[in-house]
Symmetry: C2
Subunit: 354 residues, 2 copies
DNA sequence: TACCAATGATTAATCGTTTAATCATTGGTG
DNA sequence: CACCAATGATTAAACGATTAATCATTGGTA
């Protein structure tokens, strides 16, 4: 239980056994030529005095710090915990530490954050880019987690497929009029999700997209989204690109006295922490962050450890499917709902985008 | 914009100017005796070739890595983003990097996480301990962010005062019967919050505590908390120790057709990201994480830079007040509500605990 | 003139590890 | 017997910065 940095080093072990430090190093790393018995003795004494190699010393010599940087668009993002946890786990399993850097939303700070990491000699960087930004060459290996449709993306969830799964689920429950709720139209992730949803509209289905930032720019921040009126218009399915927006929709509907899921269904994305504890429980899509992180880290480590000069990191599997988590906010459409006057079949289902 | 580690070092600058590396080091750090003009020249060339000191080299020599560790009870905690962001900002302002370590909830992993950090030679650690655990001496300076009532706490929000503010606010609105909703009774933070609430009950006020984990152990996870029945019992104020529980309460009440805030008021804690976007907006308490992080980092850095051997880090100001954010889930009690039969004044307000 | 202090710079050791180059010993082979 | 290869270990040079100790020069003072 003694965490204390024992101050022990190679030469100490060497002195104890009357051998050279180089031999100790070789023995422990299994690299040079050391007799089996000596290796055993060295291992034993190392364990005995609680030797822990100095990563700093090693870093200076090898030029590798064993540390990866993690840059997030905005740490305040509620998805951040999932990502950070998964990355930290994958990284430390691979023997790397994780240095965080917050870019606080702004592009300038993202640049700043990256250079802070590089100055600290990280061996590589995992970056979840700010929407709309493109990662330029930064002189060290970079794995990008964004969306499959982003150029330069290393690995990410299959947001498009997730969108498809949502609409398929709802269409199967009889829904025909969908309000797709996004936040910002510049986000690759959000566009993929919405694109996927649109691509699976059922026969005679109709979808409309509402971008919250655009809405708020017009009507002010934090107000109502006017969803009750949409229900009156015949919309029965409200599909948000994130659980945050889904929650906003759900509470707004509840407050307006519209029963969920009886009168309207609501879905989100990401399975954020609260989604399972609210009433009714939110139907949402979960990404397999553990797998994504694993792929990202593996790809990054491969590039690092093969000294590949180029900074483009590619993974064998660039996208990981999302899984639908069905809870209580989605249900078969009530016989009465949705069959309002204007049930025109004028909107053809959109074609597949890929 | 060139992030590339230029490979430049002290000797390179030295060679360029025909001086010794030591002089360059002295000039840049302002430590030895170097003539003003030479300092200028050295600074100029350093800037010109884009010299960035190798933190690794420096670390090896000085024994200080310039990196702090951040240990969180469970990264998945929705409060984590706020904490991490604030700590990262404060640390990087002080010239330190932040290495994260997730303890994934378990005590064993918390120990593990700490030793991983120590092995990486962090100069100090900021730890938000798992509830119920006590941080033992770990051989490097540690700042603990927990609650003022925790022994060994360095700095934290004044949860007790936050609790007081909640109840004062609600009492001012006429509420008398409070249901205090906690999650786990072993948490210092939660106990402080609840203690503060109890300490400010108005004349004739009544408070009851409900621990969710206990409730779920009995009735199963994820079910209803039976809040509608509590409303029938005359409770009008539902005060959760976290926005997560408040959200759970709010949606459960809404779903049961109980109007918030007309028929019941709900409050949370922490001002989590969704609290401002839900309908109605959640009244909650915000902690000033920026200040808390600043104090924690300053205290930690002071210990580190004075080489104080002892690992007990004390701050000048151990607790930071929380601020009440009033939104729409709290309102003056309806004339009809709460005046049910059993309005006995039998419960005396609890005394101050400190 | 001789001595001293202040100034400005250099030397060299050090932090702990890795690793190429070297050396010594041994047994085997032509 | 001489030569070679294999084996097991050592030496010494890095990596890049910091810093105590040292040295050289200058100007001032007794």
């Amino acid at each position: 239980m003694a965490f204390v940095r024992s101050g022990s080093n190679l030469s100490q072990i060497a002195a104890l056994l009357g051998v050279s430090a180089a031999t100790v190093s070789n023995a422990l790393s299994g690299k040079g030529r050391v007799s089996a018995e000596l290796v055993d003795k060295i291992r034993a004494t190392a364990a005995e005095i609680g030797y822990v190699p100095s990563l700093t010393g090693r870093a200076l010599r090898t030029g590798r710090t064993g540390v990866l940087g993690l840059v997030l668009p905005d740490i305040a993002n509620p998805l951040f915990p999932q990502i950070a946890q998964a990355i930290e786990f994958a990284a430390s399993s691979a023997g790397y530490g994780v240095l965080i850097a917050d870019s606080r939303g702004s592009v300038a700070m993202q640049t700043d954050a990256i250079s802070r990491l590089v100055e600290r000699d990280v061996d590589g960087i995992v970056i979840v880019p700010r929407r709309g930004t493109r990662i330029t060459d930064i002189g060290c290996p970079v794995a990008v987690i964004d969306s499959p449709s982003t150029p330069g993306n290393t690995v990410s969830a299959d947001h498009w497929q997730g969108g498809q799964a949502v609409v398929e689920h709802l269409a199967g429950l009889g829904h025909r009029r969908f309000l797709l709720i996004g936040n910002n139209a510049a986000s690759n992730v959000q566009n993929d999700r919405i694109g996927g949803m649109k691509s699976r509209l059922p026969q005679g289905g109709h979808a409309e997209v509402m971008w919250i930032e655009r809405h708020e720019a017009q009507f002010g921040k934090g107000g109502l989204l006017g969803l009750a009126e949409r229900v009156a218009d015949g919309f029965t399915a409200f599909c948000a690109v994130s659980d945050l927006q889904a929650l906003r929709a759900l509470t707004e509907l509840q407050r307006a006295g519209i029963a969920v899921p009886e009168a309207a269904s609501v879905t989100g994305f990401d399975d954020l922490v609260w989604s399972s504890v609210i009433t009714p429980g939110l139907t949402t899509l979960r990404m397999d962050m553990a797998t994504i992180a694993d792929i990202a880290i593996k790809a990054l480590v491969r590039v690092i450890e093969t000294d590949a000069a180029g900074t483009a990191v590619a993974a064998d599997r660039p996208s990981v499917p999302m899984t639908l988590v069905i809870r209580q906010t989605t249900a078969r459409m009530a016989a009465s709902a949705g069959t309002v006057s204007n049930s025109e079949p004028e909107t053809p289902p959109e074609g597949e985008r890929r």
